[in-house]
């Protein structure tokens, strides 16, 4: 069974890459084939999700984080797991390149760059999203891509494969390889199939901008690897091992600092600062955070709609996911020290700034592009709050934002297919023109502005809670929360203005040749209906997503609390008095894990702080 799951996971990654290899040889029938491949992929991914969920939900929290070795990610379903069928080791033997001076036995830990992939709570839903969003991306391109469809879909699959690879990777170099792999197909897709006259320029700008950033990230990755060897001085590229090393180094330095010798800690933190900057460089551009966002409007608006959907739903998530996967666990002290004050300030400014730009924008696609910048700024803000609420909100928002922004771009594709323009001033009264489309478009737009009952509300509330609860030193968290809330309001402002102009008012449409455009077709209904349905489902029942990631979120929270204590120079103290364990009865919706105790006190509470602040943080790590 466990081998079966590993094969499935491997298939999730291989299938798009293999399709990318064979699709260039197909011509016209490529689109039909593509949709079948995407369906198959979704099926496989669903199987992985179904198989992984019980495993992720049942992880025992008590086992975690009290030992040095335990404060690290634990991927499941790792292909090439050393321990054969029981799957307990969470490491792989599939070495791609070994930097060991002498040959090693397979399975030994060492300076090996490995093909190390697996699922955990953080990436499971992003993979599901990557798999799912391929369907609307293909369906939107159904009519509009007539030129070399085989190559087009091949590149799309390559993009998807790259994103999935980056989500799945647990080896830092492998992560980087997949991270960069997405650049190539995107460059050709924008440059080759773009809609506007500036497509080549946009493609080049996108490529160079992201490459410049991510090369610095590579530098950061190598720096982290080199500065964090294990006890025997051996470096490692495996992310979990690296986390263990980072934690151990920080723990001993922190202990010395509390004992009155801060030199080691200060040195480590200074190193971390530079590594943090280097790592963040690529992610800042990829997310993007103001002022590194200027490639985005051009790329999003010039790209064909299907590509824009993948860009906004998957590639933007690579940046935030990189922060989650690499920056927070590998440079925790710097993330606490500079995360909110520096990056958070930029993000907060970007939230308002991009929202204002979105309001002023006259082109629908550009407006959505700017709104995406605004939303992602909020997401980064919540990530750097570095507490359970913030990060869980961010994880959820990655999925939600992928769905809604992708859906909004699909909406622009609907109009583009019919009228060849996305200038908002040319439209009016579409509610009467396309009543069925209007209903779905309204649901999706309302999801985007965070209307309760739809998906974004939940994640926005969690993120806002995270920002309000952020106890990072040297920030005014309420100020940030107010800015974030203003961002939510501004989101409503431009979306409602767009709705008023395009869907209300007397009918106004651009001139078309031939027959009058028809209302939503079956194919389009499949796109918008499924997206709207998912928005509703995720808005009402988001808990499975949060439950499956709870273990990982607590892990990050423990790391965060340790870093917070080191940075503020306060030794871990007793649980704060203000936190009361929740005594409400176990809700039927939540599965009581073997962690024991009431779910509130044992799980939710734990994530938030009391047991963590008391015993889970780094001082206990040395036991």
């Amino acid at each position: 069974m466990i081998v079966f799951t590993r094969v499935l996971l491997l298939l999730v990654l291989i299938l798009p890459l293999a399709s990318a290899a064979i699709f260039p040889f197909f011509g016209r029938p490529a689109r039909r084939l593509a949709i079948w491949v995407a369906f198959l992929h979704l099926l496989i991914t669903s199987a992985v999700v179904v198989l992984a969920l019980p495993m992720l939900n049942d992880r025992i929290e008590d086992s975690g984080f009290s030992k040095l070795e335990a404060a690290k990610f634990r991927p499941n379903f790792v292909p090439g797991d050393v321990s054969g069928s029981d799957g307990a080791s969470n490491r792989t033997t599939w070495t791609v390149l070994s930097l060991a001076p002498t040959p090693m036995r397979p399975g030994d830990a060492g300076p090996n760059i490995q093909f190390f992939i697996g699922v955990d709570g953080l990436n499971l839903w992003l993979i599901a999203l990557s798999s799912f969003m391929m369907l609307p991306a293909i369906l939107v391109s159904w009519e509009s891509i007539r030129e070399k469809p085989g190559k087009f879909y091949a590149l799309m699959f390559l993009m998807q494969g790259g994103a999935i690879g980056a989500f799945l990777s647990f080896d830092v170099i492998l992560f980087y390889v997949f991270f960069e792999l997405t650049l190539i197909p995107t460059f050709f897709l924008i440059g080759g199939w773009g809609t506007g006259s500036g497509r080549r320029d946009a493609a080049r700008k996108f490529f160079l901008y992201t490459l410049a950033g991510s090369l610095l990230t590579l530098l950061g990755i190598i720096g982290v690897v080199l500065t964090n060897p294990n006890d025997e001085g051996m470096i490692t590229f495996s992310l979990p091992d690296l986390m263990g090393n980072v934690q151990r180094n920080l723990y001993f330095a922190g202990k010395a600092a509390f004992a009155g010798q801060p030199a080691a800690l200060i040195a480590l933190q200074n190193t971390q600062f530079w590594l943090f900057l280097a790592l963040m460089a690529g992610f800042l551009v990829k997310v993007p955070i103001w002022p590194f966002h200027t490639w985005l409007p051009a790329a999003y608006s010039e790209a064909p709609t299907g590509v824009t959907i993948l860009l906004s739903a998957l590639l933007a998530k690579l940046g935030t996911f990189g922060i989650l996967r690499l920056v927070l666990p590998l440079t925790p002290d710097a993330a606490i020290m500079y995360g909110l004050p520096v990056i958070g300030s930029l993000a907060a400014f970007g939230i308002v700034y991009a929202a204002l730009c979105a309001y002023a924008e006259k082109d629908l696609k550009l407006m959505i592009a700017y709104s995406s910048v605004s939303h992602l700024g909020f997401l980064v803000l919540a990530l750097f709050a570095f507490n359970v609420e913030g990060i869980s909100g961010a994880v959820l928002h990655m999925v939600n934002h992928g769905l809604t922004t992708g859906a909004l771009f699909a909406m622009s594709g609907f109009l583009l297919d019919r009228y060849k323009t996305t200038q908002m001033s040319q439209y009016g009264g579409l509610m009467g023109r396309f009543p069925n489309f209007a209903v779905l478009a309204f649901i999706l737009c309302l999801a985007s502005i965070g209307l309760p009952g739809l998906n974004n509300f939940v994640s926005e509330m969690l993120m806002l809670g995270g920002v309000v609860d952020a106890r990072n030193p040297r920030i005014d968290r309420l100020g940030l929360a107010v800015i974030a809330a203003i961002g939510i309001f501004l989101g409503a402002w431009y979306i409602l203005t767009m709705l008023q102009r395009m869907f209300f008012n007397p009918l106004k449409e651009p001139l078309t040749t031939g027959t009058a455009p028809a209302d939503i077709s079956g194919r389009e209904f499949a796109i918008f209906g499924s997206l709207a349905g998912l928005c509703l489902v995720l808005g009402l029942f988001p808990q499975p997503v949060l439950d499956s990631a709870r273990w990982d979120l607590n892990l990050l929270n423990v790391i965060g609390n340790g870093a917070r204590a080191r940075v503020s120079g306060i030794e871990e103290k007793e649980p704060e008095k203000e936190i009361v364990p929740m005594t409400i009865p176990a809700p039927p919706g939540m599965k009581a894990g073997p962690g024991g105790g009431p779910p509130g006190g044992g799980k939710g509470g734990k994530g938030g702080g009391p047991p963590v602040g008391g015993k889970g943080g780094s001082p206990k790590l040395g036991d």
């Binding site: 204002l356 509610m431 309204f442 509330m461 809700p587 939710g604």
Partner: protein, 652 residues
């Protein structure tokens, strides 16, 4: 089934099911029957809600809380689907479903033949669902969810005539302005969550705060932020500007959403959170001042309007201001009394204002959509039933003695006068506000009867649009009018002044009792104060008399020159909208365009940086001159330089 929570859930579910059925009907030939699900749901809901009232009144504990079903939870933030039934919510539930039922019946006639008939009823059903959820929610974020839900339905219903630009603009304005308040509300909730032991459940939060009183300043901030939400939703100063514009929606929508139920959600929110507000006197007096300013400002703006529905809209703002005035006395006097006064006025107001709007709708129906009072008049003969019902509503609104409005307004006066004599630090403020309330009563009587006389008295005038259907509305529309006028006439007298039925019922609400404990105020005897009632009556009669003197010949309006500037100022809405437009909307839009331009500049900066390599290349290009010897020479020289560096610097 028989327990109150189950009952409440059924009441909650029925409109939702009704909406779904209406969705199914909308695509079929049965679309003209789309009104039935809503009527059945509201009717059934009303019957069940009255049963529920009885159950709550009889039960030994006055509050029932449902099980928690987690919506989402992470870290400290735990939000659950949980509802509570206590006298306060049971009362609101009964009121909402009962009024909604009659308005639904009225709309079946009013909206007949409209091409969006099913859409209207789907949205109305969703609205009733959200409103019921709003009053039942026992979790702050769940409350926000339904709060936004009613806002959404209001948005879609105001924009019901979507191809009309003014309706589209009004819809957006309504949603956005309430959303300003909602942003504050959400921030306030998160502040409370932080200081209230990480609870978002109302009951748990109140208990926690009562046991561990947090920092006064923070609590006041949080309360004021909550009040922001109420100000937006209940259209109080300075966010009231959306409500008059929202009259672009169909009239039943105005009656149900913008008079009887949704706009009172803010009042309900404050009443619900009474334990919090009882702890902060600063927040209370702020509420009272906002209420007072809104009451008199809107009352003033109502006197100069020509649009019948706008008069009623401003009057709604004004009456909601009364409710906030009462709530503002919450800690100064016994909170139970203050809340009772507010909720009682809410109840009577729901009846007479719904009645007035429906009557106006009946007029509008007959006049072919014209609602400008300058274009019709003297309708008394043509529409006798509407005339009588409108008169009942107007009388109740103007607080003519012994009608509903009189009793409820009297309670508010009493609350204010008690507050001005209490131990509160703001007695002077309450005294001024009492005067304001009296003045508003005068204005209310005047503008209400101005509208009444202009519409129904004097010579008959009909607009061209009325055509041949300028006659009394059909029974399906007049019956609800008659039922509601009974309420407007007698409900006030029936439930409170003589038997204290209403206050006795509300009193048992645990949160109000908690508030009373926290406010340390003694129970005051509920007596009828002849002086206050007398002053009120005199002012009302003065306003009525003035309206009679000026308008008994009906329209068109002839103003004495002394009053002309006053009316002009009122008609121009004191330029508040223009000021907002110039001071907020324009600068924000300007800022947006500035940001967009700046973004181009930023992009230019990026391009500039990317130009550096190109310039460098341009500069170095001539080196590539194609001469092998030159290359070889540079190679040799470079090697020489490098080697000498190695030899003389590094090797040393």
């Amino acid at each position: 089934m028989s327990d109150p929570i189950g009952l409440a859930l059924i009441i909650l579910a029925m409109p939702l099911v009704a909406a779904l059925i209406a969705v199914l009907l909308s695509g079929t030939s049965l679309r003209t029957l789309a009104n039935l699900p809503l009527i059945v749901a509201c009717g059934g809901g009303a019957i069940l809600a009255f049963t529920l009232l009885g159950k709550v009144a009889d039960a030994s504990t006055a509050q029932f809380v449902s099980d928690n079903i987690t919506w989402f939870a992470a870290g400290h933030l735990r939000v659950s689907f949980t509802i509570t039934v206590d006298p306060l919510s049971a009362f609101m539930l009964a009121m909402v479903t009962f009024i909604a039922m009659w308005i639904a019946i009225f709309s079946s006639g009013y909206m007949h033949g409209d091409k969006g008939y099913p859409r209207f009823f789907i949205l109305m059903s969703l609205f009733v669902f959200s409103m019921c959820g709003l009053v039942l929610a026992n979790n702050f974020l769940l409350l926000v969810a339904f709060w936004e839900g009613v806002g959404l339905c209001s948005y879609l219903l105001v924009g019901y005539y979507y191809s009309k630009p003014s309706a589209a603009a009004a819809a957006r304005k309504a949603f956005l302005i309430t959303r300003i308040g909602d942003t504050g509300l959400i921030l306030g909730i998160f502040l409370l969550w932080r200081m209230g032991g990480w609870h978002t459940d109302l009951t748990a939060l109140f208990d926690h705060i009562a046991k561990n009183p947090p920092d006064q300043g923070m609590l006041t901030t949080a309360c004021l932020l909550l009040f922001c939400g109420a100000v937006g939703k209940s259209a109080q100063f300075p966010l009231y500007v959306w409500l008059p514009d929202a009259m672009e929606g169909p009239t039943p929508v105005s009656a149900l959403i913008h008079a009887a139920t949704m706009v009172t959600a803010g009042v309900y929110l404050i009443a619900r959170c009474a334990p919090l507000f009882a702890l902060c006197p600063d927040a209370q007096i702020t509420i009272a001042w906002i209420g007072g300013i809104s009451a008199i400002l809107a009352g003033f703006l109502a006197i100069g309007q020509h649009d019948l529905k706008r008069v009623l809209a401003y009057s709604t703002v004004s009456q909601l201001g009364y409710m906030f005035l009462a709530l503002g006395t919450l800690g100064a006097i016994n909170p139970v009394f203050a809340v009772t006064a507010a909720m009682f006025h809410l109840l009577t107001h729901a009846f007479f204002k719904a009645l007035l709007f429906l009557s106006a709708g009946s007029v509008m129906h007959a006049m072919g959509g014209v609602i400008d009072m300058r274009r019709f008049g003297g309708l008394r003969k043509r529409m006798p039933i509407t005339h009588i019902t409108f008169l009942c509503g107007a009388g109740a609104l103007a607080a003519i003695p012994l009608l509903s409005g009189f009793w409820s307004k009297d309670l508010i006066f009493e609350a204010l006068s008690e507050a001005s004599e209490s131990a509160s630090p703001f007695t002077a403020g309450y005294y001024i506000l009492l005067t304001v309330a009296f003045l508003t009563a005068f204005l209310t009587a005047f503008y209400t009867f101005r509208a009444y006389f202009l519409t129904f008295w004097g010579p008959e005038r009909l607009p061209a649009e009325a055509g041949d259907h300028a006659h009394e509305s059909p029974g399906v529309m007049t019956v609800p009018l008659m039922v509601l006028s009974l309420g407007a006439l007698f409900l006030g007298a029936a439930v409170e002044p003589f038997n204290h039925l209403f206050s006795g019922f509300l009193e048992r609400t645990p949160s109000l009792q908690l508030a009373a404990t926290l406010a340390h105020s003694s129970t005051i005897a509920q007596h009828f104060n002849w002086t206050i009632a007398g002053i009120g009556t005199v002012l009302v009669l003065a306003g009525l008399g003035m309206a009679f003197a000026m308008y008994r010949q009906g329209g068109p309006e002839k103003l004495p020159w002394a009053l002309e500037p006053v009316f002009q100022a009122s008609e121009s809405k004191l330029y508040v909208d223009d000021v907002y437009e110039a001071a907020i909307v324009k600068p924000a839009t300007g800022l947006a365009f500035l940001a967009r331009v700046f973004d181009g500049f930023l992009d230019g900066l990026a391009r500039l940086i990317s130009a550096i390599p190109r310039l460098l290349g341009q500069w170095l290009r001539p080196m590539q001159n194609g001469l092998v010897q030159f290359y070889a020479l540079s190679m040799a020289l470079g090697l020489a330089v490098f080697l000498s560096f190695v030899l003389f610097r590094v090797a040393r």
